[in-house]
Amino acid sequence: MMRLELVKRPQRSALFSALSPFIAFALTIIAGAIMFALLGVNPLTAFRIYFVEPVSQVWQLHELAIKAAPLILIAVGLSVCYKANIWNIGAEGQFIFGAIFGSAIPVLFPQFEGPLVLPLMLLLGMVGGAAYAAIPAFLKTRFNTNEILTSLMLVYVAQLFLDWLVRGPWRDPQGHGFPQTIQFGDSAVLPELMPDAGRANWGFVFALVAAVLIWIMMGRMLKGFEVRVLGSSPRAGRFAGFGLSRMVFFAFLLSGALAGLAGISEVSGAIGQLQPVISPGYGFTAIIVAFLGRLNPLGIIAAGLVLALTYLGGEAVQSALGISDKVARVFQGMLLFFVLGCDTLIHYRIRLIGLALTKPEGAAKLEAAPKLKEAR
C-alpha cells in the first residue's frame, strides 16, 4: 500500500515558489500530449497552435489583452476578499450590475455627449457593482447569512434582470424587436489603445493599474495588513481593534466595484451596447484566476494572461485542427489541477510512504511504528 504524506516545511520554499508553475506547465504538456495523440492529432502541431501562434501575431496579442482585462480586474478584487477569508463568488452578478448602471447614461440620455460621459459611466459602473455586492455583505453582517450562497444566487437574479431589461424597457425601438439596447454614442465608447494594430481598449490599462494599486495596498498599507490579519485569524484581528463587519463591507464593496468596472468597460469597450448575455462567465473564471495567481495581484496579471491564452489557443486548435472546444476545456481543467497540485510543494515536502527506496532508513523505521499501531 502506497500513500502520500505531506511534511510541512519550516518556511515557504523560495525554490518551489519559482519552480512550481513550470513543473505544472511541464506536467500539463505531457498529459496534453498524450490526450492529443490519443485524439489522433500531432501534439507538436497542437501545442504550436495552442500556445505559440496566439502570441506571435499582433492582432492576437490585442485579443489576449481584451480577454484578460476583465479576468484580471475581477480577480484582483476577489483576491482581497479571499485573503480576508470572505467568499464572494458572485462577481458575475456584480459585473452585470456594473454594466447596467454604467449603461444607464448612454441608453437613457443618448443626447448627452462630451468628455464627461465616459468617466461618469465608469464611475456609475463601479457604484453598480459595489451596490450589488453590498447585498451579500449586508446579509452576512446583519443576519450572519452565508455569503457564498447569497452572492451566487444573486448572479442568477442579475442575469434574469438584465434579460428583462434589454427585452423590455431598454429595448432599442428601432431594433426590429430584437433584444438589444441602442448602440452607444461615440463619447460613450471606451477608446481603443492602438486602433491601427488591434482592438485592445483601455480596459486592459484599468486592469493593470488596479492590480498595481491593490498590490501596493496589500503590501505597504495598514489596510492590507488588516485584511491579512483578519483573514488568517479573526480573533487576533479583533484584539488589534480591526472590525470584522467593516472588513466584510470593505472587501465586498471593493471587489464589487472592480467587477462593476470590468462590466462597464466590457460593454462600452468591446460590445458597444447592452444585450441579454454580456459575459461568457468571466466572474466565475476570475475565481480560478485569483487562485492561479496565488491571490497576489501581480501573480494575477500573469494568471489572467495565461488563462486568456488557453481560451485563444482553444479556439485556434478548434478552427485549425478541428478539435472540439470540449478538449480545450479539459485542457484548462488539467492545467488548473496541476498548478494547484504543484503549489503544494511550496509549503510541503511530499513523501511517498511504502516505497522503501525513496527514504532514509531512519525515517522508514520511525514511520513503521505508527503503522504497527494501526494494524492492531
Binding site: L44, P169, F178, E266, Q275, P276, Q318, S319, S324
Partner: protein
C-alpha cells in the same frame, strides 16, 4: 510510452504536412455556432448542414467551425480568426453575431460572409433566414384537429420576433379549424434546459392542455408527452426516435441545400451577397413524416403544406391584433419587414407579450 509518442508525432506530422500542401486549391468554408453542436437542436442542425456540404462537394472544399461562441467580444474574435486563417466563406448562424460580423466583414473585404436571421447587409455580407412560421401554421391546424380539450401548451424560449411570429402563425392555423382554440404559454427563458422544458410540459398538461408545441431545442417535452400518452410536435430535428407514439410531426431546419448552393457559388466565383428568406418551397423548412394521426388530418396537413409551398402566406388578412384592432385587411399580406420585427400578438392569443 515515450517511444510510442515520438512515433505517433512523426507520423502525424508527416500526414499533416501532406494534408496542408494539398489544401491550397480548396475553398475553405467556415461556420460559427452559438451553442454546442451536441445540443441536438439549432446548432446541431447547422452542423449537419456543414457535413452535407463536405459530403456533396468532397475535395473541392475544406470546412472548419467554432462552437459555443458567446455573443459579444468573443464573436468578433471568432470571425476575425476564421477570416485570417484563410476561410473564404464564413457563415454566422446566430442573430447575436450580427454586429460582430458587420465589423469583421468591413475589415476583410475579400472574404465572403453570410449571417443567419439578422437584418444588416454589406458589400460582402449576405443574410439568410428560414420561414419557420410557415410550418407552424400547419402545426396549428393539426393541433386544433387532434386536441380534445381545445387547448395546446406552448413552451417558448425568449420573446424575440422569430418566436412571436411562430406563436401567431400557430394560432392562426389553429383558429382556421377551431375559432375557440386556446394556447397556454410558458416562457422558460432558455433555449436549452431539458429538465425545465420537461417540467413546463408537465405543468401545461396538468392545466388541461393535451398537445404540446415547443420553440425550445430539447426532446424533453415530447418525452413527457410520450409518457402521458398525449401528443406533441418536435423542433429543429426529427425527434421521432424519442417519442414514437407522441410525435405528430416535427418542424425541422434543413440548411444543407442552401449551404451547398452558396459554397458552390463561391467556388464558381458567382457568389454575391444575398438576402433570402427560405421557406417550405425551398426545402429549408421541412415537416417530418406525419405520424400518429388519422388519414384525413394527414391529408389536410399535406394540402396546407402544398398551398404554402405554392406561395400562399399564412399571414394573409383579415387578421386582427390581440386587442381586436385591425392589422391586415381582407386579402392583404404582411410584408417581411413587419414579420421580422414582430412584437405583437394576433387575436386569440391568451398571453401578455413581455414588453
Amino acid at each position: 510510452m515515450k517511444k510510442l509518442l515520438i512515433a505517433l508525432m512523426t507520423t502525424t506530422a508527416a500526414l499533416s504536412l501532406a494534408a496542408s500542401a494539398e489544401a491550397a486549391d480548396k475553398l475553405k468554408a467556415c461556420w460559427v455556432y452559438t451553442g454546442p453542436i451536441g445540443d441536438f437542436g439549432y446548432s446541431y442542425q447547422h452542423d449537419q448542414g456543414r457535413l452535407e456540404v463536405e459530403k456533396a462537394l468532397g475535395d473541392k472544399v475544406e470546412t472548419a467551425y467554432l462552437e459555443n461562441v458567446s455573443e459579444g467580444p468573443d464573436a468578433d474574435r471568432a470571425f476575425e480568426r476564421l477570416a485570417r486563417e484563410g476561410c473564404k466563406l464564413i457563415f454566422g448562424t446566430s442573430f447575436g453575431f450580427m454586429d460582430a460580423e458587420v465589423k469583421v466583414a468591413k475589415k476583410f473585404p475579400k472574404v465572403m460572409f453570410e449571417h443567419a436571421t439578422g437584418y444588416k447587409t454589406g458589400d460582402n455580407l449576405g443574410i439568410y433566414n428560414a420561414r419557420f412560421y410557415e410550418g407552424r401554421y400547419v402545426l396549428g391546424q393539426i393541433a386544433a384537429k387532434e386536441s380534445k380539450s381545445g387547448v395546446a401548451g406552448y413552451i417558448v424560449s425568449f420573446p424575440i420576433p422569430e418566436v412571436v411570429m411562430g406563436i401567431n402563425s400557430f394560432m392562426l392555423g389553429a383558429q382556421s379549424i377551431n375559432p375557440n382554440f386556446k394556447a397556454k404559454i410558458v416562457w422558460v427563458n432558455s433555449w436549452f434546459d431539458p429538465g425545465k422544458e420537461a417540467d413546463a410540459a408537465k405543468a401545461l398538461f396538468d392545466q388541461g392542455a393535451d398537445i404540446i408545441v415547443q420553440h425550445t431545442d430539447s426532446t424533453a417535452a415530447l418525452q413527457v408527452a410520450e409518457e402521458r400518452k398525449l401528443h406533441g410536435f418536435g423542433q429543429s430535428s426529427d425527434m421521432i426516435k424519442f417519442a414514437p407514439n407522441a410525435q405528430l410531426t416535427s418542424l425541422t431546419d434543413e440548411w444543407g441545400p442552401y449551404y451547398i448552393s452558396r459554397v458552390q457559388a463561391a467556388i464558381d466565383g458567382t457568389w454575391k451577397p444575398d438576402n433570402v428568406w427560405l421557406g417550405i418551397k425551398d426545402g429549408a423548412v421541412k415537416l417530418a413524416p406525419y405520424t400518429n394521426m388519422p388519414d384525413d388530418v394527414k391529408a389536410m396537413a399535406e394540402a396546407t403544406e402544398k398551398k404554402i409551398a405554392g406561395g400562399w402566406n399564412p399571414f394573409t388578412g383579415p387578421i386582427a391584433k390581440q386587442d381586436g384592432s385591425a392589422w391586415l385587411k381582407d386579402g392583404e399580406v404582411a410584408d417581411d419587414g413587419t414579420l421580422l420585427g414582430m412584437n405583437f400578438y394576433v387575436k386569440g392569443v391568451d398571453d401578455k407579450l413581455p414588453q
